[in-house]
């Protein structure tokens, strides 16, 4: 009996192949959309988590707080709400239980060595604790020193592949390079690190942040920005002293910027807090996307109901013939419900194929990182089935309630 019901339903679906395909399209798109959207947001989440984790361990991040006045608003009395390199230096010299302080400002510039040149190199202006906090080691020569920073020395440390691009087999240490219009001496080359969370550590170079402020910040921008930094990263000895360090930093900054602890224009957050905030953001983003996709599933379901109603009307005579030869209302109901289910499940299956394939394609194209979430596949496919039953029931019931005499007379 089940075999026959399936066969009859299949005949019904395959009789109008184009129509069935178009009907399924709503469900296909809905299911694929749910899977792809969840995969994209899961991918974004994973990228953010990776990035934050590869920043180092036991870190605190000091950054500008968002306030009604906006970042950089000048307070009365001339003191500034801007976070500066001087704040970083103050933290480094007076806060206890910390192992390093890092600030960075990046710029993209053309680099030349002899007659070899490379465009669009990321030049990172930073401080001496950078390798320690980011887990990098120097392969040749040395990294930046405090003296380099204090003297705004014209020195640079190259990433592994950048050094190879510029100097080939030659030893770069002690050589001269031209960055933008400024001549720098190469002091060292970093160990190979590779690409971590979309950042190619081997293709960049490092200069003292003081040099970055002085030479590589556009003049008109420098007037406003000065030695302003976005974030000061502080590495703490261990988890236990984290809270104490936060308090020390807050007191120090409050004093330096003439602010009270209550309306401090800065926030000091731990790595975990940032991960949690990001997770919460992507979580709500993901559920929003899932809802949008779910709406398209419902629209697909309405499409199925619509076409099933048309089908019941078109096949009234057939229903009458089946009733005359012994089909009960239950048999007829099952037949049409099976047909609706077949449409929605086939659509669901094609949607899963499309969704998984689409996610894979996004990954391959490199434009977006996607992570397939198995639950989203189950959810999408299950919703497709539920949509089939829900929207198939009314037409199936309508078919089952047909009067055999009327149905047989139907033209």
């Amino acid at each position: 009996m089940i075999g026959e019901v399936l066969q009859i339903a299949w005949e019904g679906v395959s009789r109008n192949k184009l129509r069935s395909l178009l009907t399924m399209l709503g469900v296909i798109i809905g299911v694929a959309a749910v899977i792809i959207m969840v995969a994209v947001s899961a991918g974004t989440e994973a990228t953010i988590a990776d990035r934050i984790e590869t920043l180092g361990t036991n870190l605190l991040f000091v950054s500008q707080a968002f306030s009604a006045a906006g970042p950089g608003a000048r307070q009365p009395g001339g003191s500034s709400n801007d976070l500066t390199y001087d704040d970083a230096l103050a933290i480094r010299s007076s806060v206890k239980n910390i192992t390093g302080v890092l600030v960075e400002r990046n710029s993209t510039l053309a680099v030349k060595a002899g007659n070899v040149s490379s465009d669009g190199v990321t030049v990172v202006g930073t401080t001496i604790d950078y390798p320690e906090i980011r887990g990098l080691t120097v392969a040749q020569g040395r990294f930046l020193t405090q003296k380099d920073l204090d003297n705004t020395a014209k020195v640079a440390v190259l990433g592994y592949s950048l050094a190879q691009d510029l100097f080939g087999e030659e030893n770069p240490v002690g050589q001269k390079i031209t960055v933008g219009t400024v001549k720098l001496y190469v002091m060292g080359v970093m160990e190979e690190k590779g690409v971590v969370a979309n950042t190619d550590y081997d293709a960049r170079m490092y200069v003292p942040i003081s040099l970055m402020f002085e030479k590589f910040t556009p003049a008109m921008f420098a007037r406003f920005a000065g030695n302003m930094v976005n974030t000061i990263t502080v590495q703490v000895e261990n988890q236990e002293v984290m809270d104490g360090v936060i308090t020390q930093i807050e007191i120090l900054l409050a004093k330096r910027h003439d602010a009270t602890m209550e309306d401090l224009p800065f926030t000091v957050r731990t790595q975990q807090e940032i991960i949690d905030t990001q997770a919460a953001t992507t979580e709500s983003f993901r559920s929003l996307l899932a809802w949008v996709a779910a709406v398209s599933l419902v629209v697909g379901g309405i499409g199925i109901m619509n076409i099933m109603l048309v089908s019941v009307t078109e096949r009234t005579r057939e229903i009458g013939i089946r009733q005359a030869t012994g089909a009960t209302p239950g048999d007829i109901r099952w037949q049409f419900l099976t047909e609706a289910l077949m449409l929605s499940l086939t659509g669901g299956l094609l949607g899963v194929v499309g969704g998984v394939g689409g996610s894979w394609l996004f990954n391959q194209l490199g434009s977006m990182r996607t992570v397939l979430v198995p639950n989203s596949i189950l959810l999408a496919f299950g919703s497709a089935a539920a949509v089939g039953i829900f929207f198939g029931f009314y037409p199936a019931n309508k078919a089952a309630q047909l009067d055999p005499i009327e149905a047989l007379r139907h033209e």
Partner: protein
């Protein structure tokens, strides 16, 4: 005649007592059947005649378990169907009744074999294997002269062939009653004769047949002719020997 041999064992197939059917159309009540009583025994070939509006279609629908009487009782092969629900009626139709319609009522997209197998799909008891069914359907098609046509669809066949396919479908479940509603109404006279010939031979082999017709010649094949008028039996004539079919 074998028909005589069968009527020697007079088991009642149809027993209709004081049956009334009233249709409500808005405020108007239309009395289609007005206290009709009928007794048809196994193996009988009965023709029902009457002008349009006489209630013969309504009677046919009720005898075919497609509808229920408003009042009175109808027993088919010993089962009172007048109080049955829609599902139970469907079971009775599938098991005990074979329909032959004026317009054949075949599934247009199904092959001859699939059409003939249709009543088997909905059979609840005594189900047989797919293979046995196919064998049975093939032999039934052969019996109505449609050997080698099992893969053909109704469109690819003549009216006479389609009606023979419908007869094969009516026979497949070995029903207690064959109900034919103007079986030759859509056919030319030659095909019509062929169909009557088949019905005649079915009757000879002991089938119980009730046929609605307004064709006096067709009615001549029946043993008994019931004339309806205004929802009542107006006249009943018994023909001791049915006219043999020509050719």
């Amino acid at each position: 005649m074998t028909a005589d041999a069968v009527t020697d064992t007079p088991e009642t197939i149809i027993e209709v007592n004081e049956m009334t059917k009233v249709y409500k159309m808005g405020d108007v009540q239309v009395v289609a059947l007005d206290g009709i009583s009928l007794h048809i025994r196994a193996g009988e070939f009965v023709a029902i005649m009457g002008p349009s509006g006489s209630g013969k279609s309504t009677l046919m629908n009720i005898l075919g378990c497609l509808d229920r009487p408003t009042k009175g009782s109808y027993c088919l092969a010993g089962q009172d169907i007048s109080r049955m629900n829609r599902s139970q009626l469907a079971h009775i139709r599938g098991k005990k009744i074979g329909f032959i319609f004026q317009s054949y009522n075949l599934l247009p997209q199904a092959t001859a074999l699939q059409n003939v197998l249709l009543p088997m799909v909905y059979r609840r008891n005594g189900r047989i294997s797919q293979k046995e069914r196919q064998t049975l359907a093939r032999s039934t098609l052969a019996a109505v002269g449609l050997t080698d046509r099992e893969k053909h669809r109704p469109k690819e066949m003549s009216g006479g062939q389609q009606q023979r396919m419908a007869i094969a479908r009516a026979l497949i479940n070995d029903p207690a009653l064959i109900l034919a509603d103007e079986p030759t109404g859509n056919l030319d006279s030659r095909s019509g004769k062929e169909i009557m010939e088949i019905l005649h031979s079915l009757h000879e082999r002991g089938r119980t047949i009730v046929m609605i017709t307004h064709d006096a010649e067709n009615a001549g094949h029946a043993q008994r002719v019931i004339h309806l008028r205004d929802g009542r039996v107006a006249q009943e004539s018994v023909q001791s020997t049915a006219i043999p079919v020509e050719g």
